[in-house]
């Protein structure tokens, strides 16, 4: 199956700053998604990254806070903007090649905001 390289693996950031997380897939995927996993919680979908157009955000998530880019079928970025301690989470990108394929994940980014 495809492999997603995600970076950075972890970061400690100051309140009010922004962090951009990158994901590179080793083959083309139809769909890419960004998830957040807060401490002790399950995965929550932030948005679907659409190739060449604006991402589709889930309820409770907005583009100004989590801008997403997907310039092609193998690469996407998520920016966490104007961070606060409540943004401390694991952020995961994921991909899916086709309708009957499994969802697979990048290696994750552990973000801590001070």
């Amino acid at each position: 199956s495809a492999v997603i390289s995600q970076k950075p693996s972890r970061d400690i950031c100051q309140r009010g700053t922004s962090l951009t997380i990158q994901c590179q897939v080793d083959s083309q995927v139809t769909m890419m998604f960004w998830y957040r996993q807060q401490p002790g919680q399950s995965l929550t979908l932030i948005a679907t990254a659409n190739q060449g157009s604006e991402a589709t955000y889930e309820s409770g998530f907005v583009i100004d806070k989590f801008p997403i880019s997907r310039p092609n079928l193998t690469f996407s970025t998520l920016t966490v903007s104007n961070m606060s301690p409540e943004d401390s989470s694991i952020y995961l990108c994921s991909g899916k090649r086709g309708g009957s394929e499994k969802l697979f994940f990048g290696s994750g980014t552990q973000l801590s905001v001070l």
């Binding site: 399950s42 679907t48 969802l103 994940f105």
Partner: protein, 110 residues
């Protein structure tokens, strides 16, 4: 409201024990159910189930789906310390929407 519920929330066993993890769901438009193992950050894929009654097996792990009773189980036999992880169940609802359970945290003691 669509939901996925896993039980137990946590489990501590000794090496060699057999464990059964449960996942029940209520979704409007079921497509598939997936199991993942999460040791640190990244969930790693275990199984994808779409049909009732067909067991999927990989080494000491196996899983089965019951679409009538709306649940799945994940069995791990002869557990090892390396099986210690959070096991996540996810249901694909409609097209490309995944609903995740809160996970079962398994700890295997030597």
């Amino acid at each position: 409201e669509d939901k996925v519920v896993q039980s137990p929330l946590s489990l501590v066993v000794h090496e060699g024990d057999t464990v059964t993890l449960n996942c029940s769901y209520e979704v409007t438009n079921f497509r598939s159910l997936l199991w993942y193992k999460q040791e640190k950050k990244a969930p790693t894929f275990l199984f994808m189930l779409t049909s009732s009654g067909i067991e999927k097996k990989s080494g000491r792990l196996s899983s089965i789906l019951d679409k009538k009773e709306l649940f799945s189980i994940l069995n791990i036999t002869a557990t090892q310390t390396g099986d210690s992880a959070v096991y996540l169940c996810a249901v694909e609802e409609g097209t490309y929407k995944y609903i995740f359970g809160t996970g079962t945290r398994l700890k295997v003691l030597a």
